[in-house]
């Protein structure tokens, strides 16, 4: 017999607050206490650890100092917070500081990789011959104004170009099959593609070696390297293209079909154009991975010192292979050339990523 009725509070009826009082509380605001306890603990622990570490104890080393500073900061931050807050807030703030610390470590590590590479390689970069000459007839002890990496750049671009021509259709059509066509084997295809995304790139080299060089009797050429790169790129393209096809709204597909378009027309004129920025991003990410691929090239592509623009005969060098051999050489000048080539490779990768950022922003603008 009990009927649930909406409970009406007597307060509502009598006294409705004016809209002006209804201002939402800012959820992300920081209080003075938040800011000061962080800054205070940071500076205080830094000064304390500096005094103990460098002045009192006979210790040295920047790395040890930073680690001790961070530990002291966490302890001091917890102490300061527990003066005025209950335990859950202390735990929350400590975890926030630990998580932020992890992020700072990661950013610092990446920055040190990039900065160190450019620091070691920038001597070589202003020499114009570095980009216009190859290493034919240049000894490892020759100064950096002789020789260059033209052969490696040409090889890299040709190999990645062939790899894209092979892997783009394969990867894209596989992604279309997984999202649009479907069928009983979709799960198998998806599982295999996902497992292959993370398969060691070295094994792609072994596979191509067994198939093309042992099986078909080809020699070590740029083409074999390109096929090995394509083997590593195809699952990457298929996987990230599948992700961007999957976020195309189902309503758009149904609208296309309801207007009388065939399935193929819907895919070609509705689904693929909608996903175009995502697909371009998938391609460029795969290129960025492919151009830095080193391990398979050690196996299937012989390294040359001369410029060889023909990928199907003679060995062909490429940027990662050149860097690998240069940094393992005992000659400082050759190591410097290796780092110079690493800078060029990094710049290429950065440019590719800048393009993906541009495309991603376009997608946001269009939707």
């Amino acid at each position: 017999m009990t009927v649930v009725q909406p409970v009406t509070s007597p307060i509502d009826a009598r006294n409705v607050p004016a809209p002006a009082e209804d201002k939402p509380r800012p959820l992300r605001a920081r209080t003075t206490d938040d800011v000061l306890s962080v800054v205070g603990s940071f500076l205080g622990s830094g000064a304390l650890v500096w005094l103990i570490y460098f002045q009192i104890l006979p210790l040295s080393g920047v790395l040890g100092f930073l680690i001790c500073w961070y530990a002291a900061f966490l302890a001091m931050f917890a102490g300061v917070t527990s003066l005025s807050h209950p335990k859950p807030v202390v735990v929350s703030r400590l975890m926030g500081a630990a998580i932020t610390g992890a992020f700072v470590v990661v950013v610092g590590a990446v920055a040190s990789v990039v900065i160190y590479t450019f620091d070691k390689g920038w001597h070589v970069l202003p020499h114009w011959n570095f980009y216009t000459r190859d290493m034919a007839g240049v000894g490892v002890r020759d100064p950096v104004n002789k020789g260059g990496i033209l052969h490696a750049v040409i090889g890299s671009f040709e190999q990645v170009g062939i790899a894209v021509a092979v892997s783009l259709p394969l990867g894209l059509i596989t992604a279309v099959f997984m999202t649009e066509v479907g069928g009983p084997i979709t799960r198998v295809v998806r599982t295999v593609v996902e497992a292959m995304t993370a398969i060691p790139d070295l094994l792609a080299g072994l596979f191509v070696y067994v198939l093309l060089i042992v099986g078909l009797g080809m020699s070590r050429t740029g083409f074999a390297a390109a096929i090995a790169i394509a083997v590593t790129m195809t699952p990457i393209i298929a996987r990230s293209a599948e992700v961007s096809l999957r976020v195309v709204p189902g309503g758009l597909r149904e609208a296309g079909l309801a207007l009388g378009a065939s399935h193929w027309q819907t895919v070609r004129r509705v689904v693929l154009p909608t996903a175009r920025p995502g697909l371009a991003t998938a391609l460029i990410l795969a290129i960025a991975r492919g151009i830095g691929e080193t391990a398979p090239l050690l196996i299937v592509s012989g390294a040359s010192t001369f410029t060889n623009a023909n990928p199907i005969s003679q060995p062909q060098n490429s940027l990662p292979l050149f860097i690998y051999q240069a940094v393992r050489s005992p000659e400082p000048l050759q190591i410097e050339r290796g780092f110079g080539a690493a800078c060029v490779l990094l710049i290429i990768v950065f440019i590719l990523f800048a393009i993906t950022r541009f495309l991603a922003r376009q997608r946001v603008g269009r939707s």
Binding site: G61, L63, P88, V89, V91, S92, R93, I99, T100, A102, F103, V106, V110, S112, V113, Y116, T117, L170, I173, T174, T179, E180, V181, G183, V189, T191, V192, E194, A195, M196, T197, A198, I199, P200, L202, L203, F207, V210, V231, P235, P249, G250, G251, S262, W264, V267, A288, I291, G292, A295, L298, I299, P320, I323, V327, A342, V349, L352, F353, T356
Partner: protein
């Protein structure tokens, strides 16, 4: 009256089947997908086929022998397999907390305005070629990491894995004894594992339901309380899957490991000591001057590596798929 009602009311066939163009489209897409399946499936088959003669010749001794000495007809990968796992585990121990912290920072703590920039930064980190990480690890990281290694040896040397065959308190310490160790290679590989694990974790964290987050806040949870009770349980599949994916990558990482590690074929658990080997380093270094028999043995080693990574990656894929949300996005 002769015609019964149901004869008129026969429903029109709603599914007329696909047109010829669509059948061609479906057929060709399916055949390309099957082609890709066959290509990638045949990687395992080909490598497995090449492994048969080696197992005929050496039998299971191939898996238990630690030395790789073709001159004495002693070829085995037990030490190498152990080294592969050691380097990968060191990488994972370092990368896991950092990846989890970075993923949580990007999805929960970072200001919304710079979130997409941070996501791009992590992608960029994954895009830096491994050869660049290798050169960085060899020239910049190695001296610093050897100090860390000595510190661990001095203070935790009673644990067997941190033992090094030298005196840590010597006035002039043998720094080269700490070079080229599984520890240093693991730190460098961690840099490559981290963005992969982090990207998977972040993707899952950012999908955790908004309603439950707000419910946690409404019940008075602090930020960490909300993360612990909503985001982490929701993202458990992504955390495990991302970590396993990273482990798969760490097992197969080649060039950075090949540059840093100094080669040794002993079964050793001392991760700080110079000299260790991994399967991928073995293949990369011995491939150039291998005879036919050795080549087959290297391909067999590659097959073992393939099986290891395939196992790890499949487990990762199962966990990630389980945590995936719906198939398509609806308007």
């Amino acid at each position: 009256m002769a015609v019964s009602a149901d004869q008129f009311d026969l429903p029109r066939v709603l599914d007329p089947g696909f047109s010829r163009a669509d059948r061609i489209f479906h057929g060709s897409a399916r055949s390309i997908a099957i082609l890709v399946l066959v290509i990638f499936g045949s990687i395992g088959v080909f490598l497995g086929y090449q492994a048969i003669p080696t197992f005929h010749r050496y039998g299971l001794r191939f898996l238990t022998e630690h030395d790789w000495n073709p001159g004495l007809n002693k070829i085995g990968i037990s030490a190498t397999m152990l080294g592969t796992v050691e380097v990968a585990l060191v990488a994972l121990v370092i990368a896991f907390p950092l990846a989890l912290g970075t993923a949580l920072f990007v999805s929960e703590y970072a200001p919304p305005r710079i979130k997409s920039t941070l996501v791009a930064l992590i992608d960029l980190m994954a895009g830096v070629p491994s050869i660049v990480y290798g050169a960085w690890g060899f020239f910049l990281l190695q001296p610093y990491a050897s100090y860390v290694g000595r510190w661990l040896h001095q203070n935790l040397g009673f644990i067997p894995i941190f033992k090094v065959d030298t005196d840590p308190h010597a006035a002039i310490w043998a720094q080269s004894r700490y070079y080229g160790s599984a520890f240093i290679a693991g730190v460098c590989v961690a840099m490559m594992v981290l963005p992969i694990a982090c990207a998977v974790m972040r993707g899952v964290f950012s999908q955790s339901p908004l309603g439950e987050r707000e419910a946690a806040y409404a019940l008075g949870a602090t930020k960490w309380g909300m993360i612990r009770s909503v985001v982490l349980p929701f993202g458990r599949g992504g955390i495990i899957g991302g970590t396993m994916l990273g482990l798969g990558r760490a097992l197969g990482e080649t060039v950075a490991v090949a540059i840093i590690l100094s080669q040794a074929f002993d079964i050793k658990f001392r991760i700080l000591e110079s000299g260790q080997n991994t399967i991928s380093k073995l293949i990369a270094e011995r491939f150039g001057d291998a005879t036919t028999v050795q080549l087959a043995a290297l391909l067999t080693a590659g097959f073992v590596l393939f099986l290891m990574t395939l196992l790890v990656n499949t487990i990762a894929a199962v966990f990630i798929n389980r945590s995936r949300s719906g198939a398509t996005t609806e308007i």
